[in-house]
């Protein structure tokens, strides 16, 4: 490459990385809030159909129920540091796709873990492989995945179906930590279950302090008893999956007690106490914990406390699963809440769950009807909730089946939900998949509630889904929905229990369409005054008409800015050609300005960090070179 047209980039600042978000576990955090409090790119002012939409999609081998996970600045062999989205499908394939680059249509790696079960159903399927959301450990560069795998012995023509746990290297997808490991459950009767036919491993995995928690349901002691549906949790040593540390059966003295939590993850507090909620089943304290919230001693599967609603028997008999929602720990408090198909939210004290509700002092701190619920008949699959731990106006959001989005303010002083101040949205879908909240810390004006909905019942056939965004402070105000410009933004088919993942200016959405749609700002963002572009002097090689100029791009703001970066030259004087020009703006103002899509820049430009760009101009009859440089950041057009 001729030196005069080379673009030179290098980082001057220290490689401190902050201001960007990893999503390493389902619902963002171990409290399972479903809130991303570090989203600085997507705001209420730019999430609208005119500025926000679908940027690109990634092709998958099957639908996916597992939440996409995002790892920033991952060292990809042969590529360098990239933001990577990990997708695990019902086809048993794990993909590592570039999280940002629309042109990176091939994954950095993908690995198929084995043949899934073919179940043929359109709602969950057609195959059943990886169902739960994996979990990532950045400290060991590992992603943990569970998969149901079916194998056939050709000599005996017998099939074997097992649930396996895998530890894969984040950068390459190779196996590690003595995986794969088959999950085996042993009943008190001594019956050992290895055949995973009918098992549903829905709950998102929990990784805490080198401990991997895996919960499963529908493990039948007696295969003829299809009403049984017991739930199991196993505890494995994360860096050596051959070691099983503990196993817990939810209802050893009775039936039921499946463990699924509508795909939500097991919650953990900062001390390692683990909280789960068990489905309808036998309740026999200290032995069987159907319809109960459970607390496990750190590092064990020994229940140290529990809560069971007074009407547990009614809930059990009508299949009104309490496990249709996981447990959420309210940050900054010792409170937790859960809810289920009945639409009732229970506010609990983490330090004293209360045991069986008796109505005589032994009651939840608060309980209220948060949605219309199912009444007395099983009506749906789960109770989507999300908690926004905003410092001054926190909210609980609930969007039940055949109901409106509802917001319940929470008061950190009284430590109760202000149910009389609840607000109600205006959209009544058939189903809401799940919700997530994005905001830039507790900065006012930026909170957004994201949800996927379906206007048709998704049980009989795959139905179209809609991505929606609401003002988190006033859910009556819809900011965006993907139907507003469906030819551009169509989401694809709806997936129940799926939560849109918002990270670093992008929204990743589950679909049944074998696609991962990625939404974001249609135009790259003008970095404005946060960026100082220091222009060096013009230089000329004697005898040529090539003028060079070295620019230093310095982040003087307080937030990291995400690549890709584009340098726009507003008002470039006539008679000047810009070598390496990528085009002229049609999306970013002022329209018609030449721009260069920069490559080799840092993935994130942190405050105080800088990089350099060398421009090469050719003067063809002009009188001089004048322009105003503007840096654009993030994905989107120019």
């Amino acid at each position: 490459m001729h030196k005069s047209i080379a673009f030179i980039f290098f980082i001057l600042g220290a490689p401190v990385v902050y201001g960007q978000v990893d999503v390493l576990t389902v619902q963002y955090d171990l409290s399972r809030t479903s809130s991303n409090m570090q989203e600085s790119i997507l705001t209420r002012s730019n999430v609208s159909s005119s500025q926000f939409g679908k940027l690109f999609s990634r092709t998958l081998d099957a639908p996916f129920y597992a939440s996409p996970l995002i790892v920033t600045s991952l060292n990809v062999p042969g590529v360098g540091l990239r933001n990577v989205a990990f997708i695990a499908t019902l086809g048993n394939t794990v993909y590592a796709y570039d999280a940002d680059d629309p042109n990176a249509t091939s994954p950095y790696w993908s690995v198929n873990l084995g043949t899934p079960i073919f179940i043929g159903c359109c709602y969950l399927g057609p195959t059943l492989g990886i169902l739960s959301t994996p979990v990532i450990d950045r400290s060991t560069n590992t992603i943990y995945v569970t998969a149901i795998i079916q194998s056939t012995d050709q000599s005996t023509h017998t099939t074997d179906t097992g649930l396996y746990v895998f530890a894969l290297d984040l950068s390459t997808g190779t196996l590690k930590f003595n995986s794969r490991r088959r999950i085996v459950f042993t009943f008190p009767s001594g019956v050992t279950k290895t055949d995973a036919s009918g098992w549903l491993q829905r709950a998102g995995l929990l990784l805490y302090n080198n401990l991997l928690y895996v919960g499963t349901s529908n493990v039948l002691e007696n295969d003829m008893d299809h009403f049984s549906q017991e739930g199991f949790i196993v505890l494995l040593k994360a860096n050596d999956l051959s070691v099983q540390l503990a196993s817990f059966e939810t209802t050893p003295t009775g039936q039921g007690g499946a463990f699924w939590q509508a795909g939500r993850g097991l919650a953990a507090d900062s001390s390692g106490n683990v909280f789960v909620v068990v489905d309808s089943g036998a309740y026999n304290p200290l032995q069987s914990f159907g319809v109960s919230v459970l607390k496990f001693v750190p590092g064990t599967l020994s229940a140290s406390d529990w809560f069971s609603p007074a009407n547990w028997s009614s809930l059990y008999n009508h299949n009104l699963d309490l496990s249709a929602n996981g447990v959420t720990l309210i940050p900054g408090t010792s409170l937790a809440f859960t809810g289920g198909k009945a639409g009732v939210i229970y506010l609990l004290d983490q330090t004293s769950l209360g045991g069986l509700e008796t109505g005589s002092g032994n009651t939840p701190l608060q309980q209220f009807q948060a949605s219309q619920g199912c009444g007395t008949t099983d009506c749906g699959q789960h109770l989507p909730t999300a908690f926004w731990p905003h410092q001054t106006h926190p909210n609980l959001y609930v969007w039940d089946v055949h109901d409106y989005l509802r917001a319940f303010p929470f008061d950190f002083v009284s430590q109760r939900f202000l149910i009389n101040s609840a607000t109600v949205g205006s959209v009544l879908p058939s189903r809401a998949g799940g919700m997530t909240i994005s905001s830039n810390g507790s900065t006012d004006g930026n909170g957004i509630v994201w949800a996927t909905t379906a206007s048709l019942d998704p049980y009989g056939s795959a139905v179209p889904g809609t991505l929606r965004a609401y003002n988190a402070d006033d859910i009556r105000q819809e900011l965006y929905n993907s139907d507003q410009n469906s030819s551009r933004d169509a989401m694809g088919t709806f997936v129940k229990m799926s939560t849109p993942i918002v990270a670093n200016g992008k929204v990743y959405v589950n679909t049944q369409s074998n696609l991962l749609p990625v939404y974001g700002l249609l135009c790259q963002a003008n970095t404005g005054s946060a960026i100082n572009i220091i222009r060096g002097p013009f230089r000329l090689l004697p005898g040529s008409i090539h003028f060079k100029q070295l620019l230093t791009v310095l982040n003087e703001g307080t937030s990291a800015l995400g690549a890709p970066f584009t340098l726009m030259l507003s008002g470039l004087s006539t008679g000047v050609n810009l070598t390496g020009m990528s085009g002229r703006t049609s999306c970013t103002q002022p329209v018609g300005s030449p721009y260069i899509q920069l490559s080799g820049t840092p993935l994130w430009l942190n405050p105080g960090q800088s990089f350099r760009v060398q421009l090469d101009f050719t003067l063809n009859g002009g009188n001089g070179i004048t322009y105003t440089p503007i840096l654009l950041a993030g994905s989107g057009g120019q």
Partner: protein, 227 residues
């Protein structure tokens, strides 16, 4: 009385307008050309001044003068004064010299910042007989022997040798001197004008001359001052 005030004001204005263009940095440069192969000559010194504003704001000047040569015939030694002002985006000039000895000269640089904070830049290169610049270690790739950017009131002159130590050396190393004002033409003209006006006023007082056809006193006249 009004006329006197007017004249005094005009004088002050003229003095103020006659802002001297100072040479804020002066360097004495010596180039050893003894290693330049004569077959690649004749050689020229090439100077350019690029305006950071991009269009030519004429706010900086570079002057090369006081040439002295050793080991070079008088006819091969540059002489005179070469001055560039950034009155357009690119201002440049060349002049020849004979290689084979030392060429010393003075470089005077003004030090004014451009409004858009893109500094003006000065470059000196050596061109060979094919009018190509001799390669140097200039990291910009522009093959400068001397380079200065006008990003401070006393611009710093940098020097670059040729790759692998061939062809170009500097002796002694480039040295920064204390800033010395270098008046431009405007200041002496303005001072002369002031002197002329003062003398004229004194002459009027002595002769009682009045250009006013109505015989009004000279102090009340509205005569335009012509340069």
């Amino acid at each position: 009385m009004t006329s006197n005030i007017f004249r005094i004001g005009l004088l002050v204005l003229l003095v103020l307008l006659a802002r001297p263009m100072f040479a804020n940095s002066i360097y004495f440069v010596s180039v050893d050309t003894s290693t330049l192969p004569s077959l690649q000559g004749p050689y020229q010194l090439y100077l350019n001044l690029l305006d950071g504003n991009g269009t030519g704001d004429a706010n900086n000047t570079v002057t090369l003068d006081t040439f002295a040569c050793t080991g070079i015939s008088l006819s091969g030694c540059p002489s005179g004064v070469y001055s560039l002002t950034d009155s357009s985006f690119l201002t440049w000039t060349t002049f020849g010299f004979t290689a084979g000895g030392g060429v010393a000269f003075r470089v005077a640089l003004t030090g004014n910042l451009d409004a858009n904070l893109v500094p003006d830049s000065f470059q000196l290169s050596i061109l060979d007989g094919s009018v190509n610049p001799l390669p140097t270690t200039d990291p910009s790739g522009s093959d400068a022997v001397l380079f200065a950017q006008f990003d401070q009131s006393s611009p710093i002159l940098q020097s670059y040798g040729s790759p692998n130590g061939a062809a170009i050396t500097f002796s002694p190393p480039v040295t920064t001197m204390a800033p010395v004002p270098e008046p431009e033409l405007g200041l002496p003209v303005s001072l002369a004008l002031c002197l002329m006006l003062l003398l004229r006023q004194r002459l009027r007082r002595m002769t009682g001359y009045s250009p006013d056809p109505h015989g009004r006193p000279a102090s009340d006249s509205h005569e335009n001052i012509s340069l």
